[in-house]
Symmetry: C2
Subunit: 204 residues, 2 copies
DNA sequence: TAGACCTTGGGTAATTTCACCTAGGTGTTA
DNA sequence: TAACACCTAGGTGAAATTACCCAAGGTCTA
């Protein structure tokens, strides 16, 4: 349910990496620090996944802006938040145009960055959800009859015990069906399942 | 969350009361048995509340049909399921017309009655909900700013811990706000809250 | 200023959910 | 027949929710 957040921090200044990493940690966000864009790209090639990428703009080697372009050309979906100490309007415009999620000037409040990161992740997930919505009918129709029964009662707000007595099966079995439903539909919690189920109901 | 169900059983045949009461008990449904409609009405006057009333039709004194009329004239909302051993189509039609929720001929399967009772309760609750829907905006707007924040994040599927770190308050406080929200909105569980919140979003 | 309400957060205990696992019985299909 | 999917249901352990209780401090208002 929790869905831990994991972000990448890219900055050639170690002090920045440390302080941001520490702050994010206090916010239950895992971080991986990289001194250069190249280092980060190497990690990517090793199948590492990040929910968001926070990168400095001015760095030796590949710049943050170039990194954004590179990632976009690779079709990496993770949102990228750029931070910089020497930004100007043009640079900011360019960054957003090529697809950066945000562009923040140093010095900034850590909470400001956090909010930006969260917004970016949320937005990208909503994009994902839009993609998924087309498969909604397919997903719901892939449920077995039993799973559908359980799903409907769960969405109606019944506990596993109540569903069990309603369907005359053990609460444990309900639990199992429920787990399957969550996985098949791709919902991370009941709230999401309810939302998707309502969407599906209205669609079809 | 559980919302225990409590129904009234009215039949002049003690054996019927006993067996139905026993069966309902196995289904986590509490029952109160009455030998005559009058007895039941007396209980009603003592502020007893029932989610559903199951009554025989042919009884000494007031008949089941008369009971339905009586209750309707008193504006009692609880659904009434009639059961009878000597029914005919006309009687059934009349029963439904005056507002009985269902009309079942003996002998019947206990599970058949159970399903009928549950459907009736669900329907009557939906009627209630329709009534409540008009108050939906009022309810949501009665939330304080903090409660609304918590509500929105909860509906989005975040755990109390996540909401806490997002709002920089302790999970415990989130819990308290959440409880208030549930009470104010009148939702019995998250699923219901999500549904109401979506309804509200679409309405306004 | 006293009362009402909101926000904050602590405690305790019961219940529920979640994420794993194993495993038998059934029915379908390659 | 063997593989596969499904339903059933048990176990364990961690995490979360729910329902209560309590109290302190702030703000606003009659």
């Amino acid at each position: 349910m929790a869905k831990s957040i994991h972000i990448a921090l890219i900055d050639d200044d170690e002090a920045v990496l440390d302080s941001l990493g520490l702050y994010m940690h206090t916010q239950q966000i895992a971080t991986a620090g990289f001194s250069t864009a190249q280092e980060f790209l190497t990690a990517l090639q090793q199948h590492k996944q990040f929910d968001c990428i926070v990168s400095d703009v001015r760095m030796p080697g590949m710049s943050g802006l170039e990194l954004v372009r590179e990632l976009k050309s690779r079709n990496i979906g993770a949102p990228i938040v750029l931070i910089t100490g020497h930004g100007d309007v043009d640079m900011a415009v360019a960054a957003i145009k090529v697809g950066a999620a945000d562009f923040i000037e140093k010095p900034f409040d850590e909470s400001r960055l956090l909010a930006s990161v969260r917004d970016a992740i949320e937005e990208s997930q909503q994009r994902e959800n839009f993609g998924e919505q087309k498969d909604l009918p397919a997903k719901f129709e892939s449920l077995t009859a039993r799973q559908r029964q359980v799903m409907e009662l769960a969405v109606a707000g019944l506990s596993n015990k109540e569903i069990g007595s309603r369907l005359d099966i053990s609460p444990k079995t309900v639990e199992n069906h429920r787990a399957w439903v969550m996985e098949r539909i791709g919902a991370r919690n009941i709230a999401e399942l309810v939302r998707l189920a309502m969407k599906y109901d209205r669609q079809s």
